[in-house]
Structure formats: structure tokens, C-alpha cells
Point group: C2
Chain length 766, copies 2
């Protein structure tokens, strides 16, 4: 079935979650103030009577079983051990209706509770009782969604990647290994053969593809083998980059305590600022990797543990792990291959009034399906409220998996801040979406394609050999200070995310931290979109919670309700005024509008799922269209927004805002020849100020900048070009930043070749 696992449980009991050698450490925890809550709750569970174990007021018989078994293992409380056994022998016979959604979670936990008794109370369980338990373990395993042998579903996503194999079947296999090695060989066999390679592939990016809700759930499931094998004495069975994934939900944390949304996720509720789910995750992760920022984040999220987590919190917590404040972290983090995302922040302060801006930019190199959305290229922007949002909801009967809202709106590109290209004939070519053995009619949202027709990859081989690749990062950089960068830049090619209706989609994100309270930041997005047919209409989307206001080329999104005070002002510089149409779509009757149908979601309680978007489209049919949008944020009641200006020459086009000019190559290619930068319009000058000019899309190497005073010089001053400096564009970034440029001068860039050639040259000259 699967190759034999490379390691096997040590020949002693206990060995599930801990061994004899861990007992002193665990006993010490019972009196550690940090673990007071967990330990007292375990004691509380242990006290429920045998007859109460299934009553409404008891959190569940499995917790009573486990807690009593722990009292035996830790404190040698024989009465507790016998009570655990008695309850386990009765509970293990329970029937389950396998048709109930997610019942595998309950079944698996009951197996685990039985396995805990089997292992921790090993000398209290007779041979006959062991045989009885093993028979029921296998009966229950057969009811699990993954099947027994556990061959169903895949190694990347789905319920099989939660606890049923990686904790419950594995844990039970560990407990019964001496008497019956089958279950361990199957569970650990599949784990090492499939789950480990799949995870070691994406862990290095530090980003979990299943999003802010399911990513955390699944990742927490993946942490159990980390602990279980380590506690058996085998060290870390994964690549240590597993640790990096924990930074995803630190960087995407909004100052108001909620998370930027990603994938299938409920909208954050107004009073939700703590995540007990993440609290527990950071406990498992931070205690294992001794990461002080995870310890810090866990403390921020501290709250009442879920009953299901209490035992593990007690077993795995390192109460003495040291924390470090998050503001020691760099403000920008690049989540590299195979994800390709960047989060740029302006600070770490907290609260609904905090000044911190958070921008998320996503290329998204792979599409794993399941709870991941078709959101390649999407961005989000938060300032004193969520302004550019990820829209839709996973809540309520109208929002769940396989609901039309989920399948036709929430998961689709149309619910995200990315680009649509509407091929009216798309459904003829892609008439259906497949998922979980089902074939659904497709709906034309103008957005990205479903790789593998909608089904997730089963293995790493599957992921790499089918059509799951959806984008590439062409460039990224941030600086000049790597801890508090002024600019954070990423460019992606997102063509592959679409069907052949798309010939090219390149998106450049450039986030500017103005370090100015009145005008804290701007996100500039430049798109180069080539459709297969000039008649395919293109849509640039910006989703918002509150109704946007459109004033010619300026769109104003406020977040003024619910105590927020943030505003996003977007200036559309391309397409040109004569060739653009900006339409407001949404409102109570069509918040989830997909070209004629509103895919309702009626879950109340928050406005965070959004209700509005703007659609920006060129008016004239054209294969190639460029979009240039400058989104600045400010307080609703703050000063007027900065003026913005299009800056365009033969080779470059870009925007001027405040003291900054940002230029992108119109060709989409990296430039390797001398070129004159376009002049900034006179109106953009401010007396006595110089400009900072960021030029992107440059070949790696050294560039020399020359400033030439512009036009007829009234004072008759010298027109001799001034050497403004040498700048190095890195291979990853392809970007230079000229600080203090003369706004009236024309800048000419000269390419001096690749940096190492230049270095060699210089060295040769010496």
C-alpha cells in the first residue's frame, strides 16, 4: 500500500505524546502558573461521573477519558486509570452516522481517547480488553472519511489533512503497534510517503495555501506529527521551514486584531480580536520551535482554549519560552516560492485607531483548490478599517462548501481585487467544475480557470505535473532599509491563472510607506493585460465594505461605520479618461453579483464580507490594455488626498504622488539599454522639494543616472548633465530608487551591465 515508515515506535509505554522521560517536565507543569487554566480544566474533566459523560453539561466523554488517563500516567491515580478504562471500553462501542458532515472529527477523537487509555494505562488493560479495543479502533477507522486503509483524498488539502490520519490514526497506531502494527504502518506509511513531501514543498514559502481559517486548522493538524515523532525521540520529521508558516498570521494581522482574509473563511465579527484557534497553534508551534514572536502572538491571542485543545496545550506548552515584541520584525515580509506574496506594513501598533497600514499583495504561484480561492494577483489594503477587501463569506447555510455563493462567487476571481477578462464563450470551453466526485455547471465570472477542472492535487507529483501553476514572481524588492522600507515591490506574471482567453497578465505592486501621519501610504498597481480577443471586456476590480463614491477618475472608499475612520482614494491614471468606464456594483440587492445572478449569502452580524465593488473597464476594444491605479489611504476626516499625476514617456509610464515617482516599463520587459525617463508634469512640483524616483523593470546590474535641466533655461544656467549617481538593480528586484532628484531635470539612465561584470571591470582596472 505505502512504503514501510522509516521509523517505528519505541518498545515502551507510554509513547503516545510523551515518554517516561518527559514525566518530570509534565509533572512540573501541573503547578506552573502559565498552565493553571489547562491543568484545572483537565482536573475538571476528570471529575465527571460515568453516567454524566454524555450529558449536555459535560464537554464530551472523550475528555473525561483522556483526563483520567492522564491522572494515572502522571500521578499514578489508579482509580482514575480504571475509570478511564471503564469509560473507554463503553464509549468505544458507540455507533456513528458516517453521513454526517465532519463526523470523522468525532470518530477520530474517540479513537484517540481509546488509544490514550491503551497507551497511558497500558498495565491496567488486560490482553482481552486490548483485543476488544483494537477491534473497535479498526471499526471506527473504517468509518473515517479517509477510509481504512487510509487511501482516500489527497496529501495537500481536504479532511484527510486534518487530524484523522496525522493524529488519530497515527496515534492509535502508535499505541497498539506491539500488538498490531497494521494501523501504524498504514498511517505513518502514508504520512511519510505523501504528506511530508507535499508539506516540505510549500513550507519554505512560509504561507499556507488554505487561507486564514482553513490554513490554521490544517496547519495545526500538521503540527501533531511534529510533536508526536519528536516526543518518541525522532526529532523533526519535517523540513524546519515548517516554522516559517507561523509568520503568515502575524503579518496579515490587522491592527484591529482581525486577520486579512484568505480563502474560505467567515467574515470577522465586530468583537473578534482574539483567535483561540491561533492561540493554540502558536502554542504548539512556538513551544516547539522556541520562536519568541510566536510566543508573543500566542499571548496576544490568549483566551479560553477549546475543550478539544486543552490536553494538548498542557502536554506541549513550554511555559518558560521567551517572547519578543513583534515590532522587532521587519515591516515587510516576502513569502517566496512556491507562494509569491508580500505583506507590507507601516507599523505594529494596535487598535481600531492605530496608524498602521497593512497591504497584502499576492501573486500566488500555485492553485491547490479546495478552500483556496481563484485570487491570483489580488491585493488587500487596510488602514483604520478594511478598505480594499477580499469579499464574500463562508458563513451560514447559504455560504458553506458547495453552496452557490461559495462556488460561484466567493471562491472566484470576481470576489477579489484582481482582473477579469470576459470571454462570452467561456462556458462552451469550460462547461463544468469538478470537485469531490461531483460535476457542477460552471458560471462565467470572467475570472481565473480551475486547474485540474476544479479538483485538488492528490500528491506533490500531481501538483507539479498537472496545470496547477498559476503565476510566477518576476521581481520583488523592498528597501532601502530592510526593516523599515520606504518601498515594497513585487511583480508577477499571472497569465497562467486564466484560460487561453488571456495572453498576458502582468501585475506590478508598489507599496509606498510615506512615513507621514497625514498621508501614511499608497499602493500603486500597474497592470499589463493582453486578451486573446480585443472584444473580451476587461475589468479591474476593487472591493469594499461601504459604498464607494466615484468622482471622474477618482474612487473614494470610506470605512466610517462601526467606529472606523479610514479612507482609500484611488486615482485611475490608466486607462485614459476618454477610454475608461468605472461602474459601481453592489448594494443590498446585488452584493454578490456575477453577470446577472446574485449568489446570495444571508449571514448577518457583520459587514466585513463586503457589499460593493467598482469595475474599471476600458471603453474601446483592444487586445492590450494598461491599468494604472494609485490607492492612497488617509483618515476620512484628515487632510485632502494627495494629487497624483500620470508620468509617461516612450518607454516608461508611472505615477507621481507626493515626493515620489514610480515608473514601470510599458513593454512589461526588463530594460537593458540607455533610456530617458519621462518628465514629471509641472503641476506635480512642489517648490523646494526634490523627488524620489523608483524605476522598475530594469535589467540586473549597475545603472548610471544623469540629470539634465529641462527645456529653455531662463537663467541661462549650464545645461551640462549632472551625474546623479550609480544604482544597482538586483536580479530579484530589477529596481532602482533615485533619491533627491531635481523635478525639473530630465533623467537619463545608462546601463553599465551586470553588476558582477562591472565589479570584475573595476577590479581589472585596479
Amino acid at each position: 500500500m505505502f512504503p514501510k515508515p522509516p521509523i517505528t515506535p519505541p518498545p515502551e509505554h507510554p509513547r503516545l505524546f510523551f515518554r517516561k522521560r518527559h514525566l518530570p517536565e509534565l509533572k512540573a507543569k501541573t503547578t506552573h502558573p502559565e498552565l493553571k487554566q489547562a491543568w484545572e480544566r483537565l482536573i475538571g474533566y476528570s471529575r465527571f461521573g460515568v453516567e454524566e459523560a454524555n450529558a449536555e453539561h459535560c464537554p464530551g466523554d472523550v475528555y473525561v477519558i483522556e483526563a483520567n488517563a492522564l491522572l494515572y500516567a502522571l500521578l499514578d491515580d489508579r482509580g482514575a486509570g480504571l475509570k478511564a478504562k471503564r469509560l473507554a471500553l463503553s464509549a468505544i462501542t458507540k455507533p456513528f452516522n458516517p453521513n454526517y458532515q465532519d463526523i470523522s472529527r468525532e470518530i477520530g477523537r474517540l479513537m484517540l481517547a481509546g488509544a490514550v487509555v491503551y497507551d497511558w494505562c497500558h498495565d491496567l488493560v488486560t490482553a482481552e480488553e486490548k483485543t476488544f479495543l483494537i477491534r473497535h479502533f479498526k471499526r471506527l477507522a473504517g468509518l473515517l472519511e479517509c477510509g481504512y486503509p487510509p487511501v482516500k483524498e489527497g496529501a495537500f488539502v481536504g479532511h484527510s489533512c486534518e487530524w484523522m490520519i496525522q493524529r488519530d490514526m497515527l496515534g492509535t497506531g502508535i499505541a497498539i503497534y506491539d500488538e498490531d502494527p497494521e494501523m501504524y504502518d498504514l498511517a505513518a506509511g502514508r504520512f511519510f510517503d505523501q504528506m511530508v513531501p507535499a508539506r516540505n514543498f510549500f513550507y519554505p514559502s512560509g504561507w499556507h495555501h488554505q487561507g486564514d481559517a482553513y490554513g490554521g486548522v490544517r496547519f495545526q493538524g500538521e503540527l501533531f506529527p511534529t510533536w508526536m515523532f519528536d516526543r518518541m525521540g525522532f526529532g523533526n520529521v519535517y523540513d524546519p521551514s515548517q516554522r516559517e508558516v507561523g509568520y503568515q498570521w502575524i503579518y496579515t494581522r490587522r491592527p484591529d486584531g482581525k486577520l486579512l482574509r484568505d480563502g474560505d473563511t467567515p467574515p470577522p465579527m465586530p468583537n473578534q480580536t482574539k483567535y483561540t484557534r491561533l492561540h493554540f497553534l502558536y502554542l504548539m508551534l512556538g513551544s516547539y520551535y522556541k520562536d519568541p514572536y510566536f510566543v508573543c502572538q500566542r499571548r496576544k491571542d490568549e483566551g479560553r482554549l477549546h475543550d478539544k485543545d486543552v490536553l494538548f496545550a498542557f502536554l506541549f506548552a513550554d511555559p518558560d519560552a521567551a517572547a519578543k515584541p513583534l515590532d522587532e520584525l521587519p515591516l515587510t515580509r516576502y513569502f517566496g516560492a512556491p507562494t509569491g506574496a508580500m505583506v507590507a506594513r507601516t507599523g505594529w501598533d494596535e487598535g481600531i485607531d492605530a496608524k498602521t497600514v497593512v497591504a497584502e499583495m499576492k501573486v500566488g504561484m500555485y492553485q491547490y483548490n479546495n478552500h483556496q480561492h481563484l485570487d491570483a494577483g489580488a491585493f488587500q489594503l487596510y488602514y483604520k478599517g478594511n478598505l480594499a477587501i477580499d469579499s464574500g463569506s463562508y458563513k451560514g447555510s447559504s455560504g458553506k462548501y458547495h453552496s452557490p455563493h461559495n462556488k460561484y462567487y466567493f471562491k472566484r476571481s470576481i470576489a477579489h481585487n484582481t482582473i477579469l477578462v470576459y470571454d462570452p464563450d467561456e462556458l462552451t470551453k469550460h462547461p463544468y467544475v469538478k470537485d469531490g466526485g461531483l460535476v457542477w455547471p460552471n458560471v462565467n465570472d470572467g475570472g481565473q480557470r480551475w486547474p485540474n477542472e476544479g479538483r485538488p492535487p492528490l500528491t506533490l507529483h500531481d501538483l507539479l505535473n498537472k496545470d496547477f501553476r498559476r503565476g510566477d514572481v518576476l521581481a520583488y524588492d523592498f528597501g532601502p532599509d530592510k526593516f523599515k522600507p520606504d518601498y515594497s515591490y513585487m511583480k508577477g506574471d499571472i497569465t497562467a491563472a486564466y484560460s487561453d482567453k488571456m495572453k498576458q497578465f502582468q501585475r506590478s505592486f508598489l507599496f509606498l510607506n510615506f512615513k507621514n501621519d497625514d498621508h501614511p501610504a499608497a499602493l500603486i498597481v500597474f497592470d499589463r493585460v493582453v486578451s486573446a480577443n480585443p472584444d473580451f471586456r476587461k475589468y479591474w476590480l476593487l472591493h469594499s465594505i461601504e459604498e464607494p463614491r466615484i468622482e471622474d477618475g477618482r474612487t473614494i472608499v470610506s470605512r466610517g461605520e462601526d467606529g472606523y475612520n479610514g479612507q482609500l482614494v484611488n486615482d485611475t491614471l490608466l486607462p485614459e479618461r476618454s477610454n475608461r468606464h468605472i461602474e459601481k456594483v453592489g448594494g443590498p440587492d446585488k452584493p454578490y453579483w456575477v453577470f446577472g445572478t446574485n449568489f446570495v449569502n444571508d449571514y448577518p452580524g457583520t459587514k466585513e464580507q463586503g457589499e460593493w465593488r467598482i469595475e474599471l473597464s476600458p471603453r474601446e476594444p483592444s487586445a492590450l490594455d494598461l491599468f494604472l491605479n494609485v490607492m492612497q489611504v488617509k483618515d476620512i476626516d484628515g487632510p485632502a488626498a494627495l494629487d497624483t499625476y500620470k508620468v509617461e514617456g516612450r518607454t516608461f509610464v508611472g505615477a507621481a504622488i507626493g515626493d515620489w515617482v514610480v515608473l514601470f516599463a510599458k513593454s512589461g520587459e526588463r530594460l537593458a539599454e540607455d533610456t530617458e525617463l519621462p518628465n514629471v508634469p509641472n503641476a506635480a512640483y512642489r517648490a523646494g522639494r526634490t523627488l524620489n524616483v523608483i524605476v522598475t523593470d530594469l535589467a540586473a546590474g549597475v545603472w548610471t543616472a544623469e540629470e539634465r535641466s529641462g527645456g529653455a533655461d531662463q537663467a541661462g544656467a549650464s545645461r551640462q548633465p549632472r551625474h546623479a549617481g550609480d544604482f544597482e538593480a538586483s536580479a530579484e528586484g530589477g529596481l532602482i530608487c533615485l533619491r533627491g532628484a531635481d523635478p525639473a531635470a530630465t533623467i537619463v539612465l545608462r546601463y553599465k551591465g551586470a553588476a558582477d561584470e562591472r565589479r570584475a571591470e573595476r577590479e581589472g582596472a585596479r
Copy 2:
């Protein structure tokens, strides 16, 4: 909320399901041999220990509770009563996950078990315990899908029409009425205000719209109030036509023991010939109405009762009710308004080799949605195997409610033997389907529209005032012998079932019982279809289990696998050969093909869900098309099929088969003027045989037939017309049948006016 119920529980205990006065009768049942199985199983339930009640080997704590309570009520077994109470007080505190599908069935049954203890063991329950139970009854009621107060869902369909209101909430309300009348007032209030009028509307048709699977389930739920109010002393709270509904599953029973399919239903399994569900239904219905045919059907279906039914089987069975054999029943039954369906049989013999033919013809006047299909106009035909079938499956994860197979194939017209009219623009006009708070994209199957956009009617007022009407019966008749008719006829106007793409769809069904073992029967279907646009392609569908063979205008469907030996031979007489295209669609790769997408269903185990169909279409665009198909049945290895002939004149068109000629008006209108019938082609004569001519579409009244010898008479015989008789066409039927007509003669019909006018005339002449 709802009007106060007109009747209230009598002031005594017990009163739930029985009163003191019923005790002798119930006690007598404990020793009645007919109820041995039920009583012994109740005793068996009662013996499970308190600690076993939740184990896998116990059918459920609720049965242990109820059985012990019964032992107290019936036999004064105090120990059993106290055990029932102890278990009930503990079980009633159970938590439930309301997100689990159909969990309301479990919650309701637990309420009922508690109510049974409350009522039957009333003097063992202290006032404090009563308060405790009532609190939990209300807690549990609040978890039910219908809500508490029970305002959710509708009065016709859905889970609210199962047991949760009509048995569990009502029963609990009855038990606690003296201490707390609220629950009774709500449950009985809604029942009398909404459920009773809705049911009294459709009961007279003797047909349950929710089909052969859900119809039985829901109808069984509806029978609980019948019994519960009657046992309290109030007689029948419904219209007594409730009884008629029982005939649906007697007439639609196939000789091989399975049911003709209707609505959401699993395909019958090869070994399935008994229906314990229907067994229990006929027990409740037959015992109440003392209907001897239901008693007979119950005995045929006898088998092991489901655990959930055992108590009620014991309480409600009338072990002395007399049976009568089904073959005393007329072979044809018309299920009138507001259904409009007819089942014509040729006998009642049983077994896979039985000679009985069963034809179902459905107009279907109302569409209630939920589990009902868009199948107006559909027919089914069984002979030694299912030949013209209702296709698709409700089984498996790929076939359940809201699955694409269910929503886009199984429920739709395309899965049924009716007519499609393909408007390529349909989705623009009807882009979605709504159901249960969800909006789904629509799929164009060319079929019938969803009334109320897909949502069910909530009340009778809703049904009558929205667009749920989908057809009308224009005529029906069978005879001449009403017990063993030669012909069974129904004609419907099914235009309203479609969107405005359909201008007229009239379908005439004429089933001929040849009373001949070689050629047992034929079903002739004549359609008059007028589309709004001549370019809308029309499809006449015939679904089959095995692959059909097409030989020019003849389609042969065999059912030769799995031990069957039946064959259907369909001759397409219209459209004409030059203007028709017959295509075979299906097979393993596209059994559920809907214009480009196969909506998979992968449930194995039977072939009854079908895999094939033919699509018969006119080649030339035309607003009006006539379809005339003659389907005869025979043994696969029997003699050659009968030849069939089109018979067409100016006014009528029809078919000749064997000794029969059947004519339909080409105009679709009822004729009220003298007319010459078309001659039968020479090839259709058989020496020495006369013909039986059925003329449909005639105005009600008396018609005189004259026979004129045809053409040049070689023998020079008299051409004087021969008076062939006076025939009366009824208002309902509009049909006459001329027996022993001279095949060579031309028949002229003369209309003598409405029958009562004629009678008045005759009486006046006397």
C-alpha cells in the same frame, strides 16, 4: 402566531397515542400472534441496561425508554417505569450538533421518548422533574429545523412535513399540555391552520406529489396526527380521502416487486421486492381505514420493521383487519385532480416472469418542487423489466439533494419521458434556480420551468396563487369494461409547465390492453407541440436501462440482463421519415448528459437508474410539430412485433396496430362536426378481421357512425352507407370506440349534439 387549535387534549393521562380505554385492546395485542414480532422486540428493547443504552449494540436509548414506559403503562411494571424515567431524565440533557443533516429526526424522537415517559408514567414523575423535562423539551425543540415556534419551512414539503411538528412537537405538546399549553398550541395550531388544508387539497387525487420514496415517508408522517387525534377521541381530523393515497403504491407496483419511480428516489436494488417502509405505512393506513387492499399490500411487504417503527406498529396495528386480494381491483386507476395521472395495468400477477404490463401516464397538474421532478407529461412502461423508465438516482454522495446530478439532471425534464424545447437563450431569461435560501445557476436542459423560481409553496394559498400550476387534464376515459378495460386514455395540456418558449404542448396517452400473451399491450403517445420560435429544437425522449437499437423509425429497447426478458418496440409514425432524426444518447461516459455536461452519479449496485435515451427530433424548423409514437411490448424472444401504420386524414391522424385504430385530432381541439375518418392503409388489413376504432378529441355527446364501402367495388355491391351505431362521447373522455368496423369501409361520424339535449329530444318525441 397561529389560530388556537379547535380541540385540546383530554384532561387525563395517558393520552398520547392511547387513553385508558384503549388498554384492554392493547393488552390483548401482547399475546396476538400477528404482533408477536413487535411485542418481542419491545420487550427486547426494554431489557438493555442503563449503561448500554448508548452502545453500538443497542438500537438507541429512545427505544429503551419508550419500551420501559410502555411496560409501566400497560402492565403496571413500576421498575420499568422508573428505569424509563431515569434514562429519560439523563438522555434528555444530550447535546446535538444542529448542523448535522437530518439531526432533527433524532432530536424529535428524543423529545417524543421524553414525552412518552411524561405522559405514560405521569404519576412517577415529580413536579420538579416535569419542570426539568419541559425545559429540555423546549431546548430540543429550539434545535429542530422547523424552529420553535415552528414557523420555518412550508406546509406541503420539506422536513417540517415529516415527524418533527406533526408527531414529535405535537406529541410532546399533548403530554405537557396541562402544565404548559404553549407547545401544543404552536404545533397543533400550525397543523390545523396550514397542514390540514394543504393535505385536504391533494388527498382527493389519491397521489402524493413527493414520489415513491419521499411520498411514502412524508405520508407516513402525516398519518400520525390521524391516529393521535383519533385516539384522543376526536375522530379523523383530515378529509377521509386521505385513504386514497394508499392506492398510489399499489398501482405503481411492478410485477417484480419494485415500484415505478417518481421524484427523488434511489434506484431499486436487484434484491429489493419488499418495502418495510410501505409495510409500516400500510399498517398505519390499513388499520385506520380498515381497507382490505392495504392489509393485503402490507402482508406482501411484510418484513422486519425498522426499530423506529416497532412501537407504533404495536400501538396502531389492527391484527384482525381483513384482507382482500388486489386482483379484485380495477386494472386502470385514474388519479384525478389536482394530480392528473393514470396507471393502466393488464393484471396483478407477480414475479420477474409475470405477464403483467404496467403503464404510468402523468399529466401532473401542480409542481410542488422539493422532491418532485419537472416531469409533467412523462410516461413509464414496464413489461418483464422496466422499459420506458424514469432515469437518474438519488443515491450516493454524487446523487444527494443539491448535488449537480440531482439539480441538473435527475429533477429535470431531460431525465423523463417527456418533451424538450431548446431555447438557446433560456438562461438569459431564467439564469438561476432558487431552493432553501440558495440561488444556483440554472442549466439549460430544454425542459420545464421551475415554478416560484424553484422554491416550494409554503401554504395552500401560495400554491393556488403563484405559478405552480403546470398542466390540465383535458380528457380521460377507460373502458369499455371499467374493471378490465381494453383502452385507457388520458390527454393533457402541459403548456404551462414550460417557460414562454412553449406555445402549446398537448399530449394524448392511449394504452391498449390487447389481452394477448404474444402481444400484450401498446402505449400510443400523440403530441402536439408548438414552440414560440420555429428554430427551437424539439426533443421527444424515451429513457431506457439498456442500450436501444434504432432501425430507421423503429427503436427497440430490450431489458434482457439481470434475468428480465422484456422488450419495447417503438414505431415513430410522426414526424415523417424525411423530417426526423433519432439519436441515441448515453452509455458509460455520458449517461446523464445535459447538452454538453455529464452530471455524474457513481452509485453502483443496480442498473435501474438507466444509462440511455433516444432523442427524437424534427429536422426542419417549424413552430408546430406533431409526434406520434407507438410503443408495443413483448418478450425479447417472442414473436415479431406487430406492424404499425400511420392513419391520416384531413382532421385526424393516428395509428393502426393489430386490430386497433386510434385517432387523434390534428388540431388538438375537440371536434363537434360531421367528419370522415381516414382510411386504414391496405397493408394494415388482415383477412377476415374487423377493426376496433377509437376516436378521441370528440365533443361530448352522441355520435352516429356510418360505414361506406371504399373505392370502386369490384362485385358491384351496394354503396349504401351502413349505420354502424350511435356512440356517446362523455364530457370527461371525448372518446368513442367503434368495435368490429369494416377495414375497407370509410367511416363517417355525425355529431348529434350533447347527450342530454338528445335525451331531451327523445323524451320530447315520446
